[in-house]
């Protein structure tokens, strides 16, 4: 059985093309069921950055053709953007994907969960089961042993990480959004994922403030109530299209008296800026604009890339272990046949000597059984080890055939050559 991978990702396909071959969970399940018909195995991994089919079949060429055809059915244009990998290369690719090393932002953590979901929804057997479990293990190991996923990968996650630098645990911390656009919402979602609470949404257009506030469980307020609301919040995220400052330093200074020394983090994601830069000079106020956050993200990306080198080493080692296991599959039937044949001969010889052994008591008989078993095991130990080693070095099939030939494995009569 061979492992075949056919897919495309952000490396090879534009966003428009990726959208056309993206599959939801139901479509993915239907496709994998179709590809696995007739005793095969299939897993479909479809995220915003990639659509990949992992398929196991006896005939690698036919399996690959079926997988290509399945994706081309969705969008014929995708065929030129597909990559096709087999066996060790396919497994290594999956391991890198699970570790986040093939992601747009190295080390992003979401992909590990997506790989797990794809695996659970797939039609898996011995091979895909093993390769996906091993890939998930490699992904977890990379995250545990490197700092690749510790730093923020976007401006909004950098803002949330900064809030943690100021307040520690964000549970229950109150956030005010100024502006009700997509950027504000993205930042809010990031803060919510860290247990922060969106307290207010302020916007020039009341309807949009109300709509976003309803979605986030917050209170909508007009922009002229900003200074008043400042007394009760810990974080302000601003992203409006206003041409001037929506919050002046004097307004913030006026609110500080009622804050009783509590720190205030202000994040200005707008261009032109919404928040008066002089706010940063006020005691206990920390104002970060888009340039500051981008500088933080760039700096952390340098760290991520450094960690990615360590992660590649871990992934390679894990992929090698899988390769050894997979290669060993070629020689396992030969080893099993050899051992079965040896055991058959041992038992046959003991039966022949039964007349002699009949004079032995039970303990002596057990000793003879034990000795003959040990002889067989010791004789077969080195050939077994050598065959497994040869399998890892790609000579496994040759060795297996040689052993089958030399010991007459698979031939009808065990009496044919061994017991004479």
């Amino acid at each position: 059985m061979q492992l075949v991978l056919v897919g495309t990702s952000h490396h090879r396909a534009s966003l428009e093309l990726r959208e056309r071959v993206a599959l939801d969970s139901e479509q993915g399940a239907a496709l994998t069921a179709r590809l696995a018909e007739g005793g095969g195995e299939a897993v479909c991994l479809s995220t915003c950055n990639r659509t990949e089919l992992y398929v196991v079949g006896r005939d690698a060429d036919a399996t690959e053709r079926a997988a290509v055809a399945a994706l081309a059915e969705l969008e014929p244009e995708v065929e030129s953007a597909l990559y096709r990998l087999r066996d060790h290369a396919a497994a290594l690719h999956l391991f890198r994907v699970a570790a986040g090393l093939d992601s747009l932002v190295p080390g992003e953590g979401e992909i590990l969960g997506q790989v797990r979901v794809a695996y659970e929804a797939g039609v898996t057997g011995a091979l895909l089961d093993r390769v996906f479990r091993h890939a998930l293990h490699a992904g977890r190991k990379v995250r545990a042993q490197t700092a690749i996923g510790e730093s923020p990968a976007s401006v909004s996650s950098a803002a949330a990480a900064l809030a943690e630098q100021v307040f520690g645990d964000l549970e229950g911390r109150a956030v005010m959004l100024v502006g009700a656009g997509a950027i504000s919402e993205q930042a809010a979602r990031n803060l919510i994922s860290r247990q922060a609470r969106i307290a207010f949404v302020a916007n020039r257009t009341a309807e949009r403030a109300e709509e976003l506030a309803r979605r986030l469980g917050a209170e909508p307020i007009p922009l002229d109530r900003l200074a008043e609301a400042l007394t009760g919040v810990d974080v302000v995220v601003s992203s409006t299209s206003a041409p001037g400052f929506v919050l002046e330093a004097a307004s913030v200074e006026g609110a500080l008296g009622q804050r009783r020394g509590r720190q205030l983090l202000l994040v200005d994601l707008a261009v032109p800026r919404d928040l008066d830069p002089a706010i940063h000079d006020l005691d206990g106020c920390y104002l970060y604009d888009i340039d500051d956050l981008e500088a933080i993200v760039s700096e952390t990306l340098v760290g991520r890339r450094r960690e990615a080198e360590r992660a590649e080493t871990i992934v390679s080692a894990e992929a090698e272990k899988f390769h050894e296991w997979h290669a060993g599959l070629d020689v396992v039937p030969a080893i099993a046949s050899l051992r079965a044949r040896a055991e058959e001969i041992r038992e046959a010889e003991l039966r022949k000597a039964d007349a002699l052994l009949g004079r032995l008591d039970d303990s002596q008989r057990r000793a003879v059984e034990s000795i003959t078993t040990q002889i067989v095991n010791k004789l077969l130990h080195l050939p077994t080890v050598r065959m497994k080693q040869a399998a890892a070095a790609a000579d496994g099939v040759v060795y297996a055939e040689t052993v089958r030939h030399l010991f007459g494995l698979g031939e009808d009569s065990p009496e044919g050559g061994f017991d004479r």
């Binding site: 990480a161 630098q165 100021v166 020394g261 206990g284 500088a295 760039s298 700096e299 760290g303």
Partner: protein, 262 residues
């Protein structure tokens, strides 16, 4: 025996101080090695204090140098409560060099020796010296937390791009921990001073310079608590006040022993 234990304790504390310095340059292994240095140094110094207590007839740390030895142990004990956690490792950068230096000073002053005796009762010494030193150890830790607060606050104000690279406790956490530590330490100092005052009156002794500075220290820390809890002080101002209070602790510990122990 005490002398034999002093050197490994000093080596471990010194190794921890160097390790924390290395942690600033390259986080990871140096920090872990430093934390083990603190643990092993503390265990060795605990054994050293144990030997002193076993050999002496009474309270063995009644001299200035002896009390400095005990003070170092209390400071490191207080540090160990948080210091082993990764974000707090940088705290060791302020605590451990101080501990190593003070341990050397304690030895130079004879604080490692055994067989010292005081004419005061053991109960008095345990209550007075023990409580005052425990409070001072708490203030030292609070000052270290405040120093770390000011360092981290400065980085946030500078908008350093590397701000997320090094794990440091959050500002609010440092602020709250300093307050909590002082809230525990001030009552201990109050009780320790009260015990000393009772003895002073009973013996008809005069108030010396050390007592005056210690009372000034008490006032600064009491002001810290009042300003924080009643006037809403927090953050940078509170951190500077804590450092001012700690400066007085240092004065009490180092500069004026001759007066009080004479």
């Amino acid at each position: 025996m005490a002398e034999l234990l002093f050197w490994p304790a000093l080596v471990f504390y010194g190794e921890a101080a160097v390790g924390y310095l290395g942690e600033v340059r390259r986080p990871g292994l140096p920090g872990r090695a430093a934390t083990w240095g603190v643990r092993l140094g503390w265990l060795t110094q605990t054994a050293l204090l144990g030997v002193q207590a076993a050999r002496d007839d009474g309270f063995p740390w009644s001299t200035w140098a002896g009390s400095l030895n005990l003070f170092v142990w209390l400071v490191v004990s207080a540090y160990l409560i948080w210091g082993c956690r990764r974000p707090y490792r940088l705290l060791g950068l302020t605590v451990m060099p101080l501990a190593a230096v003070l341990l050397v000073v304690a030895r130079a002053g004879g604080g490692i020796a055994v067989g010292t005796r005081s004419h005061y009762s053991n109960l008095f010494l345990v209550l007075h010296v023990g409580l005052v030193l425990a409070a001072f150890a708490g203030f030292t830790l609070a000052a270290a937390l405040s120093a770390l607060y000011l360092w981290q606050e400065r980085r946030l104000k500078q908008r350093a791009a590397t701000i997320l690279r090094r794990p440091v406790p959050a500002l609010a956490t440092l602020d709250a921990l300093a307050l909590r530590t002082i809230a525990w330490s001030l009552p201990a100092l109050t009780l320790g001073l009260a015990v000393g005052a009772i003895r002073l009156v009973a013996d008809g002794d005069r108030v010396d310079a050390l007592v005056v500075v210690t009372i000034a220290t008490w006032l600064v820390w009491a002001a810290y608590l009042v300003l924080r809890l009643a006037a809403g002080w927090a953050g940078r101002r509170a951190a500077y006040l804590a450092l001012a209070g700690f400066a007085l602790v240092i004065v009490v510990r180092i500069a004026l022993p001759a007066t009080h122990f004479a």
